[in-house]
């Protein structure tokens, strides 16, 4: 599910488990990322704010 909602950052391994690409999410993808996190049945996905230094 999450890989379909956010293919820009999430791919699946051979068994269907997500592989996350660790890069930050740009503003235009934020809504998609939120939908992917909300859709996760195991609450395994969270979105963290990156602090600008």
């Amino acid at each position: 599910m999450c890989a379909e909602l956010l293919p820009e950052r999430i791919t699946l391994d051979d068994w269907g488990y997500p592989i996350l690409d660790g890069r930050p999410i740009p503003p235009e993808l934020e809504a998609h990322a939120r939908r992917a996190a909300d859709a996760c049945p195991t609450l395994a996905l969270t979105i963290e704010r990156v602090r600008r230094r």
Partner: protein, 434 residues
């Protein structure tokens, strides 16, 4: 009573060790002397000890090589009465040094645990021992009863036996177990130095690390540094296995070469093909390259290897590396805690594919698949088990590339029928036991 120890010589930890059983408290005090008395104000002697540890440069001997003083300081600064855990679980099938310390020199470990407890003002000390290490448990129990200094009050010291297994000896698994849960490395959101055993700040040290603390407290950081290299001072225990005259646990100077370790064991019994460094979560290096490698975390890191908890295994040329690697891969898969999909499925797939390669049933592309799956397993579990297994498989696929390709084409070789050299202890995996 104060006993001076000669600088720059070995053995240190293993001084006076005999094969006849645990060293008595009397003998221990004769060799090492009594612990220096604590200051009237606990804070004074706690601070002095942490400073000495800082200057000594001691790093953890459980595998992660984390600076001990930093760890102690973090727990000491955390809010609430702390707990100290001496980790002697040693789930690594080719490591015996922690068991040896508890079996033969338990008072060094207890000294170190009491010092650590003093440094962080702990109310409780727990010595964690593998449930199947019965000799170690018996020796520890006997040693605890010899100590009159424990009867006089805080902290409470007790021994706890922990279920056997590869992942059960991980810090998080032991904390879970001591808190009444299964001995599984479930990722906790808060680090244990803030919230560990009974939700208290918890200091967990490998038993060898504690034994070093026992000697640093007596003889000082400067003495500790008379052995080893600048960045890696002191001595360390190494379990040497495989094709050497006298396999066993050796105390070496940090930075000693593998060649000198092999010499200490009476030399190799035959031509060597490769060394496994750091255990089943470790790295293979070819023998010719490995001989001159200095055994320090920094030097090994440069070649992508690690000493882990101090393991060197010498694989002879007569053995079949494909068989050895395939069997260990199967065992590593069986030791998954079963918590995370990428670990459960990934390690199983790798082990199955390796078995196909071993028997020549894999077909084209199997070796590439193994390498791809290994690279996918890293960093995707709640614990470091898949990362360690991936490291083992990836380095094996590089070092034994020729043998693997040969097996994939032609199947079993002459070395395949030999006795398996790397042990894969039978017993329930943690996944089934839980």
């Amino acid at each position: 009573m104060s006993v001076s120890a000669p600088p720059g010589t070995l053995p240190r930890l293993l001084t006076g060790m005999t094969a006849s059983g645990p060293m008595t408290l009397e003998h221990h005090l004769e060799i090492h002397g009594a612990l220096p008395p604590f200051a009237r104000r606990r804070r004074d002697s706690a601070l002095a000890l942490v400073n000495e540890l800082e200057r000594s440069g001691l790093r953890g001997r459980g595998g992660a090589a984390f600076p001990t003083a930093t760890k102690v300081t973090a727990v000491a600064a955390a809010r609430g009465r702390a707990v100290v855990v001496a980790n002697g679980c040693e789930g690594e099938p080719v490591s015996f040094k922690d068991r040896l310390l508890l079996e033969r020199l338990p008072h060094l470990v207890i000294d170190g645990a009491l010092l650590a407890s003093h440094a962080v003002d702990a109310g409780e000390v727990i010595i964690a021992v593998d449930e199947h290490a019965t000799r170690a448990a018996r020796a520890t129990d006997k040693a605890l009863r010899e100590r009159a200094d424990l009867a006089r009050g805080a902290p409470r010291v007790r021994m706890v036996t922990v279920p056997s297994g590869y992942v059960t000896g991980q810090e998080a698994a032991i904390v879970n177990f001591l808190n009444g849960g299964p001995a599984m490395p479930t990722g906790a959101p808060t680090p244990i130095y803030l919230r560990g055993v009974k939700a208290r700040p918890t200091l967990m040290n490998n038993v060898e690390t504690l034994a070093h603390i026992a000697l640093i407290a007596r003889h000082g950081a400067a003495w500790f540094r008379t052995l080893g290299a600048y960045g890696e001072p002191g001595s360390t225990l190494v379990t040497l296995g495989g094709a050497v005259v006298q396999p066993g646990v050796f105390e070496i100077e940090m930075g000693a070469s593998i060649a000198s370790l092999i010499d200490a064991a009476g030399g190799a019994t035959e031509d060597l093909r490769a060394f496994l460094l750091g255990g089943y979560a470790g790295t293979w290096v070819p023998a010719d390259f490995g001989y001159q490698l200095p055994l320090t975390p920094e030097e090994l890191d440069r070649v992508g290897a690690s000493l882990g908890a101090g393991v060197v295994f010498a694989l002879p040329s007569s053995a079949c590396p494909v068989t050895e690697v395939a069997f260990v891969a199967r065992w590593l898969s069986s030791q998954s805690a079963g918590q995370c999909g990428p670990c459960v499925h990934g390690l199983h797939a790798i082990a199955t594919a390796l078995e196909q390669v071993r028997t020549g049933a894999g077909g084209e592309g199997t070796l590439a698949r193994i390498r791809r799956w290994a690279s996918m397993a890293s960093g995707r579990g709640a614990c470091a088990h898949p990362d360690g297994a991936a490291r083992f498989i990836t380095s094996a696929s590089e070092v034994f590339a020729a043998e693997l390709a040969e097996h994939a084409r032609r199947g079993p070789c002459a070395g395949c029928i030999q006795r398996q050299l790397l042990p894969t202890p039978v017993g329930p995996s943690t996944a089934r036991a839980a």
